[in-house]
């Protein structure tokens, strides 16, 4: 059963958060092990599935990746245009330089630029998914995946600095 099916929804980029959350509460109340003392093991496994599905559906990036996965695309296997990879490489070098200088203002600045690029790529990917253009969606969302990696690294750096 797909995450969308579990929540009784048609697969879509656009979900209404309020009703998604209401449905999540309803499913949790019915399936949580605390409410099912006679079948704790089964309830725990159902609840784990509900929690996993909710985590994916409520988050726009995870949701878009998941939709693409349902269409048979494995983002890990997508090869990126050289130009894009070179760009990312440059940004990474800048990040490493900023780190070496312990210049956290610069680190934040680089992250902000990537966040903007990522938001642009995500909405392009979402638009392509709405239009049913899987190829265009794939190339846009593959970029989001790279940007996401970059931002995760920044987060780890900021964590170390905190």
């Amino acid at each position: 059963m797909s995450h969308f099916e579990l929540f009784g929804l048609a697969p879509s980029v656009d979900l209404d958060m309020a009703s998604l959350e209401a449905k999540y509460r309803e499913l949790s109340l019915a399936n949580h092990p605390d409410r099912n003392p006679a079948d704790r093991v089964g309830a725990a496994s159902r609840t784990a599935n509900i929690n996993e599905a909710f985590k994916v559906l409520k988050h726009p990036v995870r949701r878009a990746f998941y939709l693409l996965g349902l269409k048979g695309v494995d983002l890990e296997k997508v090869s990126m245009p050289m130009e894009f990879l070179e760009g990312i490489l440059e940004q990474r070098e800048a990040l490493e330089a900023a780190m070496a200088e312990k210049n956290f203002v610069k680190v934040r600045g680089l992250a902000a630029q990537i966040e903007r690029d990522s938001a642009v790529a995500l909405s392009a990917g979402q638009a392509s998914l709405r239009a049913g253009d899987v190829a265009a969606a794939t190339s846009a969302l593959a970029k989001v995946r790279y940007f996401g990696r970059f931002l995760e690294e920044v987060e780890a750096i900021e964590e170390d600095a905190a």
């Binding site: 959350e21 209401a22 509460r25 949790s28 109340l29 949580h32 092990p33 605390d34 409410r35 003392p37 725990a44 496994s45 609840t47 784990a48 599935n49 929690n51 996993e52 909710f54 985590k55 690294e153 987060e155 780890a156 964590e159 170390d160 905190a162």
Partner: protein, 602 residues
Amino acid sequence: MKGLLQIHDPLKPKGHAVGIDLGTTNSLVAGVIHGKPVCLEADEGGAKLLPSVVHYGRDGGVLVGQRAVAQMPQHPTDTLKSVKRFMGKSHGDAETKKLGAYKFAGGTGVVRFEVSGGQPVTPIEVSGEILRALKRRAESHFAGKVEQAVITVPAYFDDAQRQATKDAGRLAGLEVLRLLNEPTAAALAYGLDKGSQGHFAVYDLGGGTFDISILELTDGVFQVKSVGGDSALGGDDFDRALAGLVLGEKPTPAEISTALQAARAAKERLTTETKVDLLGRTVTRDEFDALIRPLIEKTGVACRRALKDAELKAGELDGVVLVGGSTRVPAVRRFVAEVFGREPLADIDPDQVVALGAAVQADLLTNAERRDEVLLLDVIPLSLGLETMGGVVEKLIPRNSTIPIGQAQVFTTFQDGQNAMDIHVVQGERELVEDCRSLARFRLTGIPALPAGIGRVEVKFSVDADGILSVSAKEQSTGIEQKITVKPTHGLTDDEIEQMLLDSIDHAEDDIQKRLLREQQIEAQRILIDAAKQLSENGDLLEPAERAELEASMRSLEALSKETTDHHRLKQAIVGLDEQSKPFVERIMNRAISRAVVGQKV
């Protein structure tokens, strides 16, 4: 037909379920009585707070609470305080290097303290003593068994610390119904009290730990949105900062212990006074505030991150709740108001609120009538991952994921004919394995010989509702599943726990006899008080001869309760009096019912 014993509190089959706040400085036990959570007497003289201090005597005897505190000046290293800081920690951990009057035993693995009267003890055993003391107090209160408990832990506790807490519960003979995050417990106490809806932040600064949680309460579901904190930051650090002002270069354990106690007293006085004396040195509140400012600032970073993780702005919160004794410090309150831009709530005693919430959760979990009231959905505080090539962490379950949750990931072999795979489980947010907490290592063997990249191993993480992790691995190409026992890197093995349980049972024989007698004495007292009350209110329902007979039995039970050391005999006498009272109780009930029928207040 009912007797006096059944008039209130019919004995529950598994005993009463309680909530326990196992704190760094103080511990509390609470139960739900007549639908309301109440903190029970936990120490000598009826105090609700039991100091989390355990003294090990030369004769092998163990004292807990105020009586242990009294031993601190003479026996600083045999009297263990703040052991919560060492839960789930290994020998040589940074926590063991801080200022404190402890004598650590050598060796590797879990932290052990040298104490007189026996072998070195682990923080798990020391916590087990505190829990056992609380369990007995609660049993005395209910005059019945207490076998199930919800025990609270800082939300920021990692897997090893949670496991250690659960093991301590087992050592104390408690079935741990749930490990409940402290801020969640506090929110539960507030939420149910006010019947409110919306988003809340809980700022919990205790003796040794700091937690921040953001929660949402909607339609009976209490959902933790994010947690953060520092499991090694608390009021103890304020004490240490103050003690540092008066300690010389190389202080002795006794000097350290004295200075820390004096510092704590000075800190508490500074809540209401602006200038105090600390071992002959004057300390002003401004000086104290400046001293602790960097420590308080550290909590602000965690607060902002928790808000970000919950995707909320401070202004969107409906309330900020203060928990923990250290939130009495005026500088802390000012800081919280500053960070969240609103005055925090503190209408429930910050020392009691966690235990009260734990008691509510224990009741929700065991009382079928209340099960539908509210559902708690908690999260894991720290990301869980695996070590991959180059010592980099691959996160499987990110922090703030709602539990229970499972996540599987497939790893491929990297050498031709590779027949084993080392799996290293870590917890933390940092990128490199060396900066994260190592939870467990194990080796999956029996992978069939295959070319590199063909052998596929699926590693599955499962986190249960207590936030405790179990890991399994499966070789996929052949479908052969392997059962793996994860050996805790920092905790005790199941065998060690079993041995400790056996040891404690050996020594506990005398204790049990004493305790059973004490329980029956309390029971006798209760039935006598009830009988006297009923005689004065409803004595007219008895014929003079019946009354004389009942009073004679009461007198003989009272005498027996003072003399005998045989708990069986005392119990027989209690049951005898109960039996004798049945016709009387029946008449009382009839009167109560007929009054209710005609609308009079009983």
